[in-house]
């Protein structure tokens, strides 16, 4: 991993609004060319909404309430729908969580991959089909000539996710957003799919935003990690630093709650730590969203939103308490 400097995506103070509250607030992060950034957090932390907001595919009830997302000199948050359509599938590809339901059941996989090539690269039917076969081969589906004419129900879960990946990378995007790409797959297939994404990302020199709640995945595949809690970024670091020196109480809780063989943490030796309470407690208007569940919390935590501090180069944390104590 060599540090690349150029940012291809720069998200600044992104907020997503529902009717009565903001599930994502003032979220900032950036992705550099060719790097894999992991967005980590539990269910309800706003990571999937963030991904959908970048694609401008938020459900009707949600909207981007503020901030910007600069992607190759253009603000994704303010592009017109027509301009956005040219970005989707062409400059940014996306893979979803459920390979079982994310493919159209009545169209052949070849047809579904061809579609992207035909709208963005203007290929005719025959050329697009030929290219689809190559793409199936690229994502290592055996017998692509035959598979290209099959329907999703004739493929296994892992193969379907490979088809989704082939579709997402068909136009060699600069950025691939993978929203929990392996959650629905079994463990051996998970590793294969992640390895495939990692290889493609290198071969096609594309950056990846990997959304996951699996810390094992983060440790193995990410170059940088953003930990989210209740729509806020609480900590950001490279995985080595994050695992060896977690700062935010929430990150510490997360790591304590997950068995990691490499670090010698197993449920056989000692009980796994539990974070008390639930994310549902993060409903206050101001202050640190994690404070109700935090054993370090002080009255000042609830008074104002915690600033993002940078106690070490590249390691940011939204908790003044730990920084003060550590310093």
């Amino acid at each position: 991993m060599k540090p690349a400097v150029e940012k291809i995506l720069d998200v600044r103070d992104l907020s997503i609004g529902l009717k009565s509250f903001r599930p994502v607030q003032n979220l900032s992060f950036s992705v550099r060319r060719g790097e894999t950034l992991a967005l980590v957090g539990e269910s309800g932390s706003g990571k999937s909404l963030t991904a959908l907001a970048l694609m401008r595919l938020l459900p009707e009830v949600a909207r981007i309430a503020g901030g910007s997302a600069t992607f190759m000199d253009r603000d994704l948050a303010s592009l017109s729908e027509a301009e956005m359509r040219k970005v989707r599938g062409s400059d940014i590809g996306m893979i979803f969580q459920e390979p079982m339901t994310s493919l159209n059941p009545v169209l052949t996989v070849g047809r579904q991959i061809s579609e992207v090539l035909r709208i963005h690269e203007g290929l005719d039917r025959r050329l697009a089909m030929a290219r689809s076969v190559e793409l199936l081969d690229l994502v290592r589906i055996p017998e692509p000539q035959r598979r290209v004419h099959e329907y999703p129900h004739q493929l296994s879960g892992g193969m379907r996710q490979r088809v989704m990946i082939a579709m997402a990378v068909a136009c060699s995007p600069k950025l691939l957003i993978a929203d929990e790409p392996t959650t629905a797959l079994d463990v051996t297939i998970q590793a294969q799919v992640l390895e495939l994404i990692d290889n493609l990302c290198r071969d096609l020199s594309m950056a990846v935003i990997l959304i996951t709640h699996d810390l094992g995945v983060v440790g193995q595949w990410a170059d940088r990690v953003v930990v989210m809690y209740a729509g806020r970024k609480v900590e950001e670091a490279d995985p080595e630093t994050l695992f060896s020196r977690p700062l935010h109480p929430y990150t510490r809780g997360l790591l304590g709650a997950s068995p990691r063989m490499a670090a010698g943490i197993s449920y056989r030796d000692q009980a796994l730590v539990e974070i008390p309470g639930s994310i549902a407690s993060a409903t206050m208007a101001t202050g640190c969203r994690f404070a109700p569940r935090c054993d370090l919390a002080e009255p000042s935590c609830l008074a104002a939103d915690p600033d993002l501090l940078e106690p070490a180069a590249g390691h940011r944390v939204a908790c003044p308490i730990v920084v003060r104590r550590g310093a």
Binding site: M55, L57, R88, G89, S102, P105, V106, L107, H120
Partner: protein
């Protein structure tokens, strides 16, 4: 797709075999059911002439074979059917097959145009409603379709006649064409179309309402599917997402229902054909009932059961083509 052709051929052959006992049961059951109605063809003819002696009645009955024991009548009838002979109409004094063939085109045209109208308008309206689901255009249309759904076909027919034919004089009140005029070419076709507008519309309105409601629900459901989000993530336009992905899936249940309805349309046609004096099978069946002309009625029933079975088979085949998940067994 090509790989399914042998399966489809097998399905057709097997369905044809299954159809034989079904049709036989329909014929036998109807044969006995019809005998439950009071009176026979001889009674009706005698009643219409206003006078008949017992000898004349006997003569009529023995000519039509009505004096034989009922099982023997059935045996005779089935024997004729096996030789593709539908019998002879007591009322019209014509072979039944001629009567039916004469009326089939009228009914088919009426049914198919009503089906085409209701599918086209129903799907368009339902898709439009789904696009505006919950907002005022959806609600206004929902009231209108509810109206079409609940009003009886004959009443709609009569009201359309009163308004468009009697009041506005735009369209003819009934019949299938002007009397004593040779129709040919484009102008002839246009005149025929004019005669078809009201009956086809009256027959279609109920089904327009059904398909609009089904399409609306089905499109709303399909729009929420994950693959639609995938399609949008590929950069497809709203229109392409709708036609290529949403409708492609949402119309599967509509096709199924339309197939079932095609049989039902035959029944609905009876009423509409009577209201509009349209020379079709439905009216023939109605006239046959009134005249106790059972061989004609059985002929119509035989034909409609064959049509329904054939249509069901056709729907199975079409479904297999549009939904690859359906296994042809």
């Amino acid at each position: 797709m090509q790989g399914r052709l042998p399966d489809i051929a097998r399905l057709i052959v097997r369905s044809a075999f299954h159809a034989v006992p079904t049709i036989l049961v329909i014929l036998v059951a109807n044969f006995f059911l019809l005998r439950l109605a009071p009176g026979d063809a001889a009674d009706v003819i005698a009643a219409e002439s206003g006078f008949a002696t017992d000898e004349m009645m006997e003569g009529l009955r023995s000519r039509f074979g009505l004096d034989l024991p009922i099982l023997e009548q059935l045996q005779n009838y089935l024997g004729h059917i096996l030789r593709f002979d539908l019998g002879y109409s007591a009322r019209f004094n014509t072979p039944v097959i001629d009567l039916i063939l004469q009326r089939v085109p009228g009914t088919l045209i009426l049914m198919l145009s009503a089906m085409a109208i209701s599918l086209m308008i129903g799907i368009a309206v339902g898709t439009f409603q789904a696009t505006f689901a919950g907002r005022w255009p959806d609600r206004v249309i929902a009231v209108v379709t509810q109206l079409f759904y609940s009003l009886p076909g004959f009443w709609i027919g009569l009201m359309l006649i009163v308004f468009f034919a009697v009041r506005l004089r735009w369209l003819p009140t009934g019949g299938s064409g002007p009397i004593g005029v040779e129709l040919s070419g484009l102008s002839g076709l246009l005149i025929r179309l004019k005669y078809m507008v009201l009956p086809a519309t009256s027959l279609a309105l109920f089904y327009v309402a059904v398909y609009a409601r089904l399409t609306r629900a089905s499109v709303i459901e399909a729009k929420a599917q994950d693959y639609v989000r995938t399609a949008r993530a590929k950069g497809l336009s709203q229109f392409k997402v709708m036609t290529g992905h949403v409708l492609r899936n949402a119309l599967l249940p509509v096709t199924t229902l339309a197939g079932i309805h095609l049989g039902g349309l035959l029944g609905g046609a009876v009423v509409i054909e009577t209201v509009y004096a349209w020379p079709g099978l439905g009216r023939l069946a109605y006239e046959a009932v009134m005249a106790r002309d059972f061989s004609v009625l059985l002929g119509v029933l035989l034909l409609s059961s064959i049509v329904v079975i054939a249509v069901n088979l056709l729907v199975d085949v079409i479904q297999a083509f549009i939904d690859p998940r359906i296994e042809l067994k």
